[in-house]
């Protein structure tokens, strides 16, 4: 029987508001830096510097980019469905922000839980909220009234659905080992050993599915800039396009955060308690680095390869992983 998170622990309203503001501010401060870091790292992976002209070390580059995007005309194609077209980029942003709430930055310290909210259903919330983003992609692609967008949207729908199954199954092993759905409990359960050692297969599957869920290379079929001209984003311009990009980075952060909490021991690390969020961030950035590293290395998969990898390799592997874990959990 799964234990449910401690719902008797209640915080004052102002603390919760302050917490959410702080988390929001920090994550939205990290996002633009992440775009520069990615471009600079990709550059260095290719023997070049990346952006280094705007401001010191090119750190002002996102400011310039966002300024450009905002000042652009919010263009809408004539045969687009206007409300859905505007809704398209908003839903993924919403889903990303909602998912930030459950990232655990530390346990309860001085009466304040260092997390947005410790929902009893924990990781299910992540999947529920994450699925909202698909609607954004689908609606955005369909309502653009363009065949490239529609193709990209259909691809992304098929891809995201296929990979979400393996993603969930990959996490099932961790849930069985920790005996809880709550992310805080799961991190606490990694006191002795981080789950990425006993659940290494699960970790690999989760990361692979994570690449697919965030539409990153080698699974960036929905965008496929070379063939589908940005897929579902084709008809978007200005800040609407910008928010799709923003969401991509937010999803990378969220997936890295979930992976860090589920497999890498979350906030666990040496040092006093106030260093917990720092450890969590460090682990997240290590995973973000892997995201960028893989992007700099692998070419895009063909569509049938993507599907056969998802259904013929990852899904059976994840199921096997769950079975073996279940047997081991029962035996020990």
């Amino acid at each position: 029987m799964l234990s449910i998170a401690d719902t008797t622990f209640v915080e004052a309203t102002w603390i919760m508001i302050a917490k959410s503001l702080v988390i929001f501010a920090i994550i939205f401060g990290i996002l633009p830096i992440l775009t520069v870091v990615e471009r600079k790292l990709i550059g260095r992976f290719q023997h070049r510097y990346g952006p280094n002209r705007v401001g010191p070390y090119g750190l002002m580059q996102p400011l310039a980019d966002v300024g450009k995007l905002i000042s652009k005309e919010s263009f809408r194609p004539e045969n687009a469905v206007s409300t859905l077209f505007i809704l398209g980029p908003l839903l993924p942003v919403l889903s990303g922000v909602l998912a930030l709430a459950i990232l655990p930055w530390g346990n309860v310290q001085d009466g304040v839980g260092l997390y947005g909210i410790d929902v009893p259903i924990g990781i299910l919330y992540f999947f529920a909220v994450g699925s909202i983003a698909f609607y954004g992609l689908l609606l955005g692609g369909w309502s653009s009234g363009s065949k490239y967008s529609l193709l990209g949207a259909m691809r992304s729908a098929a891809q995201l659905i296929s990979y979400e199954v393996s993603m969930g199954l990959a996490l099932l092993g961790v849930i069985m080992m920790s005996g809880s759905l709550s992310l805080v409990d799961i991190v606490e359960a990694q006191n002795k050993i981080w789950f990425f050692i006993p659940q290494f297969v699960g970790f690999l599957i989760f990361m692979l599915a994570g690449f697919a869920e965030t539409n990153r290379t080698p699974f960036d079929m929905p965008e496929a800039d070379a063939e589908l001209v940005q897929g579902f984003m084709t008809e978007y311009g200005g800040m609407r396009f910008g928010s799709f990009l923003l969401v991509e980075y937010m999803e990378i952060l969220v997936v890295s955060g979930i992976a860090a909490a589920m497999f890498l021991g979350g906030w666990m690390g040496p040092g006093p308690g106030f260093l917990d969020p720092v450890w969590m961030l460090a682990k997240m950035f290590a995973l973000v680095f892997i995201f960028i590293w893989v992007r700099a290395t692998l070419p895009r998969l063909r569509y049938d390869q993507l599907m056969s990898l998802g259904w013929k390799v990852l899904l059976p592997l994840a199921t096997l992983n769950v079975l073996v874990t279940a047997v081991l959990v029962v035996v020990t």
């Binding site: 790292l41 260095r44 992976f45 510097y49 590293w293 290395t297 692998l298 390799v313």
Partner: protein, 195 residues
Amino acid sequence: MSADNGQGNGAAPFDPKTAAYLDSIDVVQVQRGPDVGGVGGAYRAFGETLRGLKTTMARLIEGPLTIEYPEEKTPVYPRFRGRHKLHKFEDTGLEKCVGCSLCAAACPADCIRVVAAENIPGERVSAGERYAAVYEINLSRCIFCGYCEIACPFDAITMGHDYEMADYDRSDLIFTKEMLLAEPIERTPLKSEGE
């Protein structure tokens, strides 16, 4: 081999008539890699992925090879043909150019204009009988072939190393004698011996 002309694995073999026809003409056999499927294929793909990751990581550790152009410049070779220079004799200070117009005659782009004048004994400009009263090179037409340098009997014109000559106005690209004679600001690094 011949019955399966480039149809890959698993395709139905041709009937004998078609196969004979395909054998009679010179069909290029399409080279295909072996079909690695199943567990072996997955293992190989995983290994190759790791190898790729290792390769990119090595590039990251090596660091950038970029030459950041406006700040750093690629050194040029000593015989690099950049912007022209006109020369003077170092001891007397007289111009080497005698206004013979051989450079203008040799110029395939027709970008050199020379107007010669007689030297007046009191105020000599060049070492010869005559000197170039006007010497203009239109650098917007120059193709930097170096024929002027070869044509010159007195080594009065040579190709320098300067290549940063972009300008906003076409008329600014017509270099007069004074500009070509002026001691150039050496803005281009020269390759050292053996580099």
